[in-house]
């Protein structure tokens, strides 16, 4: 994304990167949203408003998705056996024991 000689990050490039990472995150990749935020931490003092918008919603997306995902994972793992045939139907692999 960045060529070593062209080290300068101007506004246009920043918006481009933020937008791309924001877009990619929608493919069920919440950690890309987190990367979006982490990537811009060294530049946090010189951020464009538009970039800030992308970063704000990336953070919301990351936290929201993670909550839903972790929550579902917890519920599934604890209750999978109690759900009987339904629990087996929604599983790709059923572990032994």
């Amino acid at each position: 994304m960045l060529i070593p000689e062209d080290d300068k990050l101007d506004d246009e490039k920043m918006i481009n990167i933020a937008k791309k990472l924001w877009f990619i995150g929608f493919f069920f990749l919440p950690w890309v949203w987190l990367i979006n935020i982490l990537y811009f931490i060294p530049y946090r003092n010189s951020l464009n408003d538009k970039v800030k918008w992308y970063l704000k919603f990336s953070l919301i997306g990351f936290l929201g998705y993670s909550t839903i995902f972790m929550g579902w994972m917890g519920i599934y793992l604890v209750n999978r056996n109690k759900w009987g045939a339904f629990g087996d139907d929604i599983s790709i692999t059923i572990p032994f024991g």
């Binding site: 056996n81 009987g84 045939a85 087996d88 059923i94 032994f96 024991g97």
Partner: protein, 659 residues
């Protein structure tokens, strides 16, 4: 230059990798020793699970021997940072002690030694075995007072029994541990069971198979004459134990089976032309899991209806699947009498002696069904009295209820309409009320559990054979073959690697201990898993009741044309001996999912988990101080080598300007 370097590097890699591979396997062999062991496996029931399972990958710990009250009490205060594998002397392995230990302090696994047997009577079975599936589900009797129900409990840790020589070794090694010497000995127990939770769940997932097997019925008649009344002579052949590989069950089943097969051998030489009744000898399997074999047979006699025959074999049904339809010759309404032998190996000494000074033992009659049973009892009594030196005599029971027996499956269905000619049932046992078997359902029910001599065994075979001959219409002249009786007794109660097995079977038994646990039925209605003991009984019954031979130079059973013929010594033997499915009526096979399902929960539901392997491995453990020293010296070595490399690098760069 470059190619030469390339070859050098490849050569070094090959040398290193082969060296690593060979040293890897030999290091593992030096670290671990595999032990010959028998696992406690898992069986699922309708509502839960029984038995044991290890964690995935096994459970390990240091060996702790419990062979005295002192070591038992010290267990609770044993402050070892390592996990513990408890090594039990037989006398300390029962439900009370194990549960008390496990509730107060977790153990990682248990090994049970079999070199010294229990010195007290003990049964891990229930006090009234399979009561809910018998004739008296609300009975208050306790046929098995030594029973504590240990076999039907669930344990989340692995348990293994060790065979004799291994037990002695482990006892010695555990004593070394107790003396506090290092390196100590530890073991890894791996018996991970794939099935869990309950029968329905694991059947749905395909992680288990229904408990069952094959029953065997046999007749001397080439074809069952459907105009003659039928006398059923039967017994259960399967046995149970906490460690299912050690279920020899000599008094429980094996001794009676010896008698029955010897009766077949005796009656083989008797003139049967005057017989006016059909005699069918039936050996039911999986009876201990809810009278599965006998219930299945009765149900098929009454309700089986073939909707489409197999196009290749008219004696086989494709829907519903049934490999052998010969049982349809047996009509339920022709059943005239039922005689069952159930636990006859420990009769009580009557105190009297025969004219030639041998002890006389009491066998007990348990009649059922009214006045007709008296007729059966009279024949047996008269038979034994006709021999001056018979060491057995009969008494009638004082109990009103029948003991747990396979006849119950028949009695449930017998009434005036279904069997109009039926005169009664006679169950012959060695006990009046409570079992004389001190080790019912325990591994110790082996040949050492029989309290009579072989002359009593010969007398039983003679008296029973004569009685059956008389009941069938013969004149009662029988002659027993002592040698055969001795040989078959050894096969079924001491070691299955015996002459008859070598003669009749093409495979050699892996485990010499005769094991009559019924095992699993199979993976589908026609794909059976039949243990060697069941196959041996079938072949022996076929051999003894053969009515025709054909010296076709056969090499396997498939070369002989019917399903009930076997190839022995290049000769095809034909007999009216057949297998019959012994699987609980609770199960039905779903062809679309290719799995068993539970369709009727009023019948017994037992399924056995699948597993990949079970092993016990022995290894050595260093003391805590030793291990800390290893860690510290390793760290010192690391720092030292790093320091040396830095120094050399500095020195060489200064001195030779190389690096």
């Amino acid at each position: 230059m470059k190619i030469k370097n390339y070859f050098i590097i490849v050569f070094i890699i090959i040398v290193l990798s082969t060296d690593v591979i060979s040293s890897q396997s030999s290091i593992e062999d030096k670290m671990y020793t595999s032990l010959n062991s028998y696992p406690c496996t898992r069986i699922m029931t309708l509502n839960g699970q029984i038995g044991c399972s290890s964690s995935h990958g096994g459970d390990s710990g240091i060996l702790y021997l419990i062979d005295s009250d002192e070591s038992y009490h010290n267990y609770f205060s044993y402050n070892q940072q390592k996990d513990i594998i408890v090594v039990f002397d037989s006398n300390y392995f029962n439900k009370t002690l194990v549960l008390e230990m496990y509730s107060k302090k977790k153990m990682n696994g248990a090994l049970v030694l079999t070199d010294i047997g229990k010195t007290y009577p003990y049964s891990p079975e229930d006090q009234y075995p399979i009561k809910q599936f018998g004739l008296y589900p609300d009975s208050n009797l306790n046929w098995n007072p030594n029973g504590d129900g240990f076999t039907y409990m669930n344990f989340p840790f692995p348990m293994f029994a060790l065979e004799l020589k291994t037990s002695i070794i482990i006892r010695n090694l555990s004593t070394i541990n107790r003396d506090g010497k290092y390196p100590a000995y530890g073991a890894e127990l791996d018996s991970f069971m794939q099935g869990a939770i309950n029968a329905e769940t694991c059947l749905r997932r395909g992680f288990c198979e229904p408990v069952g097997g094959q029953s065997i019925w046999s007749s001397f008649s080439e074809v069952i004459d459907q105009s003659k009344p039928i006398i059923l002579v039967m017994l259960p052949i399967d046995a149970t134990a906490f460690f299912r590989d050690l279920a020899t069950g000599t008094d429980q089943s094996g001794y009676a089976l010896t008698v029955l097969l010897s009766m077949l051998n005796t009656l083989q030489g008797v003139d049967k032309t005057k017989w006016d009744k059909e005699v069918i000898f039936a050996m039911w399997n999986s009876e201990r899991w809810g009278y599965v074999g006998s219930t299945n047979f009765v149900n098929d006699l009454l309700n089986f209806n073939c909707t489409s025959l197999d196009s290749n074999n008219q004696n086989s049904c494709s829907s519903p699947p049934m490999l052998d339809l010969t049982f349809e010759q047996i009509k339920f309404e022709n059943i005239y009498a039922i005689i069952e032998f159930n636990q006859i190996g420990r009769p009580v000494n009557s105190g009297k002696k025969t004219p030639n000074k041998l002890d006389i033992y009491n066998l007990v009659f348990h009649p059922n069904g009214g006045a007709g049973a008296n007729q059966l009892m009279d024949v047996f009594s008269q038979s034994t009295q006709s021999y001056e030196n018979s060491t057995i005599q009969f008494q009638k029971t004082t109990q009103n209820e029948l003991p747990p027996c396979s006849s119950m499956s028949f009695i449930k269905e017998i009434n005036k309409k279904s069997a109009p000619n039926f005169i009664g049932t006679l169950v012959i046992t060695d006990h009046d009320y409570q079992y004389n078997n001190p080790y019912f359902g325990d591994e110790q029910d082996n040949s050492g559990n029989i309290n009579t001599t072989t002359s009593t065994l010969f007398d039983m075979v003679q008296v029973f054979s004569k009685s059956i001959d008389l009941l069938a219409g013969g004149n009662g002249t029988v002659k027993v073959d002592d040698l055969f009786i001795r040989e078959i007794n050894v096969c079924l109660t001491q070691s299955i690697t015996c002459n008859w097995v070598t003669k009749l079977m093409s495979t050699f038994p892996y485990n010499p201990i005769p094991n009559f646990y019924s095992g699993v039925y199979g993976v589908s209605p026609v794909n059976h898993i039949t243990p060697i003991e069941t196959r041996f009984i079938f072949r022996m019954a076929t051999y003894l009741t053969q009515h025709r031979t054909n010296a076709t130079n056969c090499t396997s059973d498939n070369d002989c044309d019917t399903s009930s013929s076997i190839c022995v010594n290049k000769v095809c033997l034909y007999s009216n001996t057949h297998y019959h499915n012994a699987i609980s009526l609770a199960f039905s096979f779903d062809n679309s999912k290719s799995s068993w399902t539970i369709v009727n929960t009023s019948y017994p539901v037992f399924v056995e988990s699948n597993w990949d392997y079970t092993t016990v491995r022995l290894f050595q453990v260093g003391s805590y101080a030793n291990e800390i020293w290893f860690l510290v010296s390793g760290l010192i070595e690391l720092l030292l080598s790093v320091g040396i490399i830095f120094y050399i690098k500095k020195y060489l760069s200064k001195r030779y300007k190389l690096l």
